[in-house]
Symmetry: C2
Subunit: 400 residues, 2 copies
């Protein structure tokens, strides 16, 4: 296996740090728009090579694949560049993995009731090209989407005879010392995902709803406790129903009451907008200004304490036919991930999954062609390998 | 009386519209940085003259006073320009009126406990120069400060034998149609006054406290009903104790829960800051960006409905020595002020008071020298004249 990682930001660098401890590949190229940044990530291992790449150019991606005879491209850049990386890999005859899918566009007239172009639609539209080429595009193989989808498939295969609802629930108690308000992730991207119309799968179809709606308090394990969760647009809702039979699929993000209120206020005032406004003699995007006044989360890992939890709540009938509810989950403590890998907890938790997936593909344990979600493949070897990587997962039986 | 109005914004223009129906002056000059804007305001009456002025230059103000043999300067510009207009009037031998006092500066080390330079301190420092010149600077003679101070003096003179507390309470139910969030006043100035440390007079001294603190629900008259009010820095707290004997003086602004939450959020994120930040290739002040994304309140008068209430709550012992509590207040309905004067309710309610005061000074009913607050003068003729202007005031007996 010859791997090209596109993007040497937080997740790309953490993925490199994890791969540095494995031996399933014969080449590992790390490319970024900034060669310096690629070189810093590549310094984790003498086997790694750094390259410069423009992820907005499918031609540039193909060229780099051919130069290094790449067999697998791992896309670790901003979701705005999913399509050129995805198309560039296909054109070069390489398989492809990503952790976020092609972007959605709201329904033009009824955005909070009907779906428009959904997350990943642009990728699934090319599924037959991938299948015909005998290549695999394994989409959404981070932690959420990714591990959360694998949990859903595991529940369907081994724990339930009927699934009424799959509800992804993500939350944590990470705090950054010394700041009144410092999100532990990019506020620009969080605004993007939190203010898009969320999608719900129910009664055999997708529908959309109002951003940040249906707040519920979910009691997270690992000492995190109760956190306010709301509907957010996320890939699992689009992936799980394609391979797992479930009456309903939702994603609720444990943003917490304070962050939800901040997002609502930014939206109400129009400060979430990316459209430039005139201010004095200059023109700026209000959302860029919001990002500029907040501390850069990439620099906050060592000021952060707490634990992050990603997981999948499943309700239905157990294998014996009696009502059952379980929460399958994965915890990462920030102090541990900083000490072991120099990576922030959420970033590390995202990055470990595509490396596990690459290893399963390299060894032939996982095989496939076309555009597949993580729930299309056997979850057991993945969950076993995760334990081997030092990142065990857990099950909580019963209601939260 | 020969009047110079400095500033032809909302309040200056409304003041001109009110003066146009009176005959107590022999000259009425309206000056603005924009001659066009001055000319628009001056078009209300053929007796009016428009001029261009730079309010940041005391010399420019003096020059204009001398050119038109001005006897009284009415300052209707942004409080940042109080000192040059105040000094320019004094230098030219003209009396002076304003509706907001010179700006405060928080205590350098204990801003939420001790006062620094207080509102109006810079003006009171020059009191002896005004007194020696035999000129009057009547400061804070809008609605709040202004009418609210006059209510306090009226209560002391006619309703109470002992005053335990004077609490200014300002609120309304103005809403702007067609907007999720549209403040009925400048958000830039509101941030300025709401996020400065508020001042409280108690036990014979001034102290400061935390912005937006001690929320209380005050039940406003005029169909407005209960509104959440919080401590805000305001001139009355600095003026009233100089002339009215009161155990405690506070100002609480009925911003309402939603607006209070917006201000808290802007502050938490640092979006209230006036210090420029780098965004992409440009440099902008976050507070200017907030103002730029919201609709301009000056353009919203005809989309607004509702009533604004300014008033003074007084607690103590009545003239008969028994416990008494009254709320003296003044209501303006936006539909009425738009129809009668083409001015938004809050703007009109501010502008009518200095015109009434000018008329009392022109007719010799009010007289004085030095730097005086409205509560230094007899409240009865003012309150009678307000009724004559079609703007009656009211008293509510008992607790809210």
């Amino acid at each position: 296996m010859r791997v090209l990682v596109v993007g040497a930001g937080g997740v790309g660098s953490a993925a490199a740090g994890i791969a540095a401890r494995r031996s399933f590949f014969s080449a590992f190229v790390i490319a970024d728009y900034s060669l310096d940044r690629a070189a810093r990530a590549a310094s984790a291992d003498p086997r790694f090579v750094a390259e410069r790449v423009d992820a907005s150019s499918a031609g540039n991606i193909s060229e780099l694949c051919r130069k290094h005879a790449i067999t697998h491209v791992l896309n670790a850049v901003d979701p705005r560049f999913v399509m050129p990386v995805f198309e560039g890999a296909l054109a070069a005859g390489a398989s492809y993995l990503d952790m976020a899918m092609s972007l959605s566009h709201p329904h033009p007239t009824e955005p909070y009731r009907l779906t428009g172009e959904k997350l990943g639609d642009a990728q699934f539209a090319l599924a037959s090209s991938w299948a015909e080429a005998g290549l695999l595009a394994l989409v959404g193989i981070g932690v959420e989407p990714g591990l959360s989808d694998i949990f859903a498939r595991y529940a369907a295969d081994h724990l339930f005879s009927r699934i009424d609802e799959v509800g992804i629930r993500d939350g944590g108690n990470l705090v950054v010392e010394g700041y009144d308000f410092a999100p532990s992730f990019s506020v620009w991207t969080t605004i993007e995902e939190c203010l898009n119309p969320p999608v719900i799968w129910e009664n055999g179809e997708w529908r959309s709803t109002v951003p940040l709606s249906e707040p519920e308090i979910f009691d997270f394990p690992g000492g995190i406790g109760p956190v306010e969760c709301v509907h957010v647009e996320h890939e699992e809702v689009l992936l799980i129903p394609r391979w797992v039979d479930a009456g309903k699929v939702t994603f609720k993000y444990g943003l917490g009451s304070e962050f939800i209120e901040v997002l609502r206020t930014l939206h109400k005032l129009g400060l979430d907008s990316t459209a430039p406004v005139r201010v004095g003699g200059v023109s700026v995007s209000p959302r860029d200004v919001v990002a500029a006044v907040l501390p850069d989360p990439a620099t906050l890992g060592d000021k952060m304490t707490g634990t992050t939890c990603a997981g999948t709540l499943v309700r239905g009938l157990g294998v014996d036919g009696s009502p059952r509810e379980v929460y399958l989950y994965h915890l990462v403590d920030n102090e541990w991930s900083m000490r072991e890998y120099g990576a922030q907890a959420v970033v590390w938790q995202t990055a470990v999954n595509p490396i596990v997936a690459l290893e399963l593909l390299a060894t032939g344990v996982w095989q496939g062609a076309g555009v597949l979600g993580p729930e299309a493949l056997d979850p057991v070897p993945f969950l076993d390998k995760l334990v081997e990587y030092g990142a065990p997962w857990q099950i909580r039986e019963g209601a939260a």
